[in-house]
């Protein structure tokens, strides 16, 4: 494996590798979307970079400046492989220069030395700026002292956050992560599936984030603890569920799984990308959900801008990161929906089993060609299972598994979890019947 500096040179385009192996129409499209994210990030730093967001009386709540600062640094880190592109050069450099004083402000220095148990997380912008070639030895000295403090291991974290810490430490020390990374990954969603039917939003984010840190946002190509196809099948189910409930932040994160693992887009993933891109085109940025809060209309000036950015920037960043990752030389166009075809009879049948909610995916599906629709059998199957699970229609779930078996579509974790759920239901119902006799 190459050391970190060699890998960075490769990512910066200095290793003789010619980027731009993508379609001449696709590449500018993705770069334009990434450029939009950088522009939104510039505004986010301008309005939220110093003090974060004070929304204690709003549903969005508060967040400190360290949150958008860390996420902005991540966006730059992922975008860096394309920074020499004429469309990105100026916004990339401007954002980088805007971020530096906030990332290494007196407040951030104080926080790093005051809270040793989370010092690496707090120093995320500093560490990523260092990885981008902008080091600061004074800040490093403070971080070393905090990292050596006896309280530095005093904050327990869940396994995917452990992966994050290993990743950050590795970047900071410019070392390849050791065996610890693989051992920790076994305990995350990379090693074990999340509950795809009834898992929480936290579980879904654990699934998406583990892949980001384990692969250094697609830079480390190491094998996953289990088959990549299996993990991607679960990403497809997370994506389907996010599209159903119109959680576009989670949808974009779920889509990252394909480029993070350097896997070819499958029809479900390409369709998901098309849904997000169409929404971004309509709205002007990728919104977090179908609606923005009406509360915005009661605000004006700076307050309105801060509120709008606080509730929107994260999803816009994720879309930018997704586009940056999709520009990897080994990735094909994320817009192309092509794969094994199901019969249109089956497609129409499954489509008919799904209740209409007006979600964006439904409109995009209607606009597809018959060939594209026919490639989306597995997606419709996942949606039908998830929707019927949400409704609690166990009988319909059982029928869906029958249809799946007949059409070779039950080799997924979602189907196994559905069968296991129905078995448990069968057990409960039998117990209940015995008791009432």
């Amino acid at each position: 494996m190459r050391n970190l500096n060699e890998r960075k040179a490769a990512l910066d385009g200095n290793d003789g590798h010619c980027p731009g192996s993508q379609d001449v129409e696709v590449r500018p499209n993705l770069l334009k979307r990434l450029s939009l994210a950088l522009r939104i990030a510039e505004r986010t730093i301008q309005f939220l970079g110093a003090d974060g967001f004070d929304g204690s009386d709003l549903p969005e709540g508060n967040f400190a400046a360290e949150k958008p600062l860390a996420e902005t640094a991540m966006l730059l880190y992922v975008a860096r492989r394309h920074k020499s592109d004429p469309e990105l050069q100026r916004p990339f450099d401007k954002l980088l220069q805007d971020l530096i004083p906030h990332a290494r402000s007196r407040q951030m220095r104080w926080d790093v030395l005051r809270y040793p148990s989370v010092c690496l997380q707090l120093a995320t912008p500093h560490i990523l700026l260092g990885a981008l070639g902008h080091k600061d030895s004074d800040f490093d000295d403070l971080l070393v002292q905090s990292e050596m403090a006896c309280a530095s291991r005093g904050h327990e974290v869940v396994p995917y956050r452990e992966l994050e810490i290993i990743w950050l430490r590795s970047l900071w020390r410019n070392e390849n992560p050791g065996h610890e990374l693989e051992q920790t990954a076994l305990k995350t969603a990379l090693g074990n599936p999340i509950d795809l039917l009834d898992g929480t939003r936290d579980d879904a984010y654990a699934h998406t984030h583990a892949a980001m840190y384990y692969t250094d946002f697609g830079n480390w190509q190491r094998p996953l603890p289990r088959l990549t196809e299996e993990f991607l099948g679960e990403s497809a189910a997370v994506l389907a569920r996010a599209l159903i409930v119109e959680d576009y932040d989670l949808a974009a994160e779920a889509l990252m799984a394909w480029p993070l693992t350097s896997s070819a887009w499958d029809p479900t993933a390409a369709f998901g990308f098309r849904v997000l891109a169409s929404l971004e085109d309509r709205v002007g940025f990728l919104p977090a959900g179908r609606s923005a809060s009406k509360q915005l209309l009661q605000l004006a000036g700076h307050d309105k801008t801060k509120y709008a950015l606080a509730t929107s920037y994260h999803t816009a960043y994720v879309m930018g990161m997704l586009c940056a990752l999709s520009l990897k030389p080994d990735m094909a166009s994320p817009f192309e929906i092509a794969g094994p075809q199901c019969s249109m009879t089956l497609i129409e049948f499954m489509h008919g089993l799904i209740p209409r909610t007006g979600a964006q995916w439904e409109q995009v599906f209607q606009s597809l060609s018959p060939n594209e629709q026919a490639a989306l059998g597995p997606f419709l199957f996942d949606v039908a299972i998830i929707q019927n699970s949400r409704k609690g229609d166990a009988a319909q779930l059982e029928k869906l598994l029958q249809i799946g078996i007949q059409n070779g579509m039950t080799n997924s974790t979602l189907c196994v979890q559905t069968a296991e759920f129905l078995s448990r239901v069968g057990c409960l119902v039998a117990q209940d019947a015995n008791r009432s006799r």
């Binding site: 522009r39 505004r43 969005e60 709540g61 967040f63 949150k67 860390a70 996420e71 991540m74 989370v118 995320t124 039917l197 009834d198 929480t200 939003r201 936290d202 879904a204 984010y205 984030h209 088959l227 196809e229 299996e230 409930v245 932040d249 989670l250 709205v283 002007g284 940025f285 919104p287 977090a288 179908r290 609606s291 923005a292 809060s293 009406k294 915005l296 709008a308 929107s312 920037y313 994260h314 999803t315 816009a316 949400r390 609690g392 009988a395 078996i405 039950t410 080799n411 997924s412 974790t413 189907c415 196994v416 559905t418 069968a419 129905l422 078995s423 057990c427 119902v429 039998a430 209940d432």
Partner: protein, 79 residues
């Protein structure tokens, strides 16, 4: 046996077991109400924890009175 085949086999075994009894399930739901089986209320749960755990995870916002996000385009993008 491959992993995919193993998964399909689990589903096939479940269907073959006939452990799921349509009639008994229908009676169960009739006696306990449909809400016992529904999971819509808990969709994706909620993010809990301190601020550090919330990195990279946006808050769940229940928009009761929503507007088209197009209305905030200028605020977000500056254009």
């Amino acid at each position: 046996m491959s992993n995919a085949a193993r998964k399909e086999e689990i589903v096939r075994k479940f269907l073959g077991s006939k452990v799921f009894d349509f009639n008994a399930f229908g009676k169960f739901v009739a006696e306990n109400g449909e809400s016992i089986a529904s999971s819509q209320d808990g969709e994706f749960g909620f993010v809990v924890g301190n601020r550090f755990i919330r990195y990279c995870i946006p808050p769940v916002v229940a928009v009761t009175e929503g507007i088209d996000p197009v209305a905030v385009r200028t605020e977000v993008t500056g254009r």
